[in-house]
Subunit: 202 residues, 4 copies
């Protein structure tokens, strides 16, 4: 025990934040109540909201799966890891706000600032995710004995590109905010095959 | 392990999304604060909100029970199933928005578009549910050895009508949006006796 | 198994709804942003909001504890109990709306209708709670073998007054809505000593 | 059993409230939709919102970790502890409201009242936390036999300053509301090294 405990409660708390943050995304959707006759076309014109919703939801889902996969390699947690976990969750719980910005401002004045804020959030998230993982992994500090080094290296390989990809999304937003959001969605879908890849290699 | 893990954490995350999506439904209710003297009749005129709330809540509850029942047959999950699960949850977490549309626009201009959006969400949900289940079930890919084939077939039988029922709700909305919502509520109640049926047959 | 399963996942889902419904109560609080100089006195004049928040939160907390205590006596759940549980949770998840009505309208025009809606919600909740418990308890349908009858009777004794108390709150609201809310708060506090009582008797 | 039960479900419910309260904090963020061209500078001027968000989120995270650490020393819970836990959670679930006040009013008229409300919430929270812990700890009422007294004393030492620190924050707000919020943030960061300290001593 002694300040180092099982991973269960960190998982429960994290699952909660992941789940709630993902579900709060829906609150971004809004239509003009006064104009019901127009509702059909209003719903079609909400496509930036759908795009932002799907992108953020899938990203949270993938990060949750990777978080799950990483925690599985850990034998225990300590207070520093829990604190880093709180910082990581802080970023994930923040995501509904920039998502709402993208939903509201994409294809309108202010779209650049909205997508910068969106991408910056993902960069910080990827950064904290890396710090969180590396803290547990370096010197196998919190890793279970039976977990082979090859599995840890596979996780490293999968995470290394993360920050660069989101930085690239940020750069793309200078030219086209819409393309940047689409790239973020593609990124969420990219993590999966990549992960499948490193599983096969093991 | 090797990327295939127990079903517990998928259940925790799913229960979270189911529970939060169901609870966020309450945010659709709104009254005009400026007109307190009128509050009693305002509350009575909110009946489309009550109808939409009860329909969506019970539907989420039933889907949650069926999800639970399906996961019980599984020995493990893999990344593809987790990803399909994320897509399914994305649809369920989206439900508070079309529910709010129905609550606000039923019996007013725009009701048709609102109910189309509502029914379309259920169609997508039923579709993803089927894909999710079939992925786990085909060739008993993720099914526990002790689970008899008859139990799997019973689940198939219970799920097959789902998409068609929701498509029928959609068609009914062309004639009467209100009847369509009532049919959706009846559908949520129908799943139960049907489920009871296949249990007795086993 | 056969459609009857352990109580764990019903507890997880219920805990989720209880927790989220309780936490969403905070969204009732609102101040006028335009009038910051006045904020101190605005916060004092929010006392109906504080009263409604504390009353609803403690009630949810107590119901959650009683729910917990009842589930502990159960060996398993079946689909009917799960469905009744969904209906019970539907009422609990609805609570933030009448709570907000009380917060907004107490001591203003419309307070009577607001408190009627509040008390009616509690009456329905108490009713569903009784049905849920009696379904599991009659003929010891879902009760664990080791649980003595005296314990079940003690739970009965504790629940029997519930509906009558909330009906009394409703009647009191005809004369004084404020007194009715205070009585509801006192009721939440009353369940505890009563529960302590039946524990000692066992 | 007999009204005293394992600590698991208290943890599940508490984790839920902690997680949801933390995630609801994001709802404080708001921008003026009508003024998109200005979005970049609007986002920069939101710094009081960021400060309030980070302060409250980290505080909730730390309290959650300490709660976790305390519950680990307990062998069981009784109804009184559960009730005190409900009161503690009531305060934590309330936090999004004063956080929003700080976010909206810091550096504007009304900032003093906003920060008083914020600090008062933390004082009540620290108070209830102490009562909750002391109830379990006095005479080792609910403590596991194997837990050494030194560990309990270490927790006492870590908690004793809590109320005084938050009272100090309150006093600082008389002179500078901004400094008070910064001090609250520093406090959240201070609990960690302190906790690390008592772990080393054990």
């Amino acid at each position: 025990m002694a300040g180092e405990t099982g991973t269960t409660r960190m998982e429960t708390f994290s699952d909660g934040i992941f789940g709630i943050a993902a579900t709060l995304l829906v609150l971004e959707f809004a239509v003009n109540e006064a104009n019901g006759a127009d509702l059909g076309s209003q719903l079609l014109h909400l496509w930036p909201s759908y795009l932002a919703y799907v992108t953020s939801f899938i990203t949270i889902g993938i990060i949750w799966m990777n978080h799950h996969y990483c925690v599985e390699t850990m034998a225990r947690v300590d207070r520093t890891l829990l604190f880093l976990n709180v910082l990581l969750l802080l970023t994930i719980a923040f995501l509904p706000f920039p998502t709402k910005l993208v939903a509201e401002f994409l294809q309108k004045p202010g779209e650049q600032a909205a997508v910068y804020a969106y991408d910056a959030t993902f960069i910080v998230m990827a950064l904290l995710y890396n710090v969180w993982w590396r803290y547990a992994r370096i010197g196998r500090r919190l890793i279970e004995n039976e977990v082979p080094d090859s599995r840890l290296r596979a996780i490293d390989r999968a995470f290394n590109p993360g920050i660069f990809i989101y930085a690239a999304c940020f750069v793309v937003a200078i030219i086209s905010p819409l393309a940047s959001v689409v790239l973020t969605l593609v990124t969420a879908a990219f993590y999966l095959p990549s992960a499948a890849l490193f599983e096969r290699r093991r």
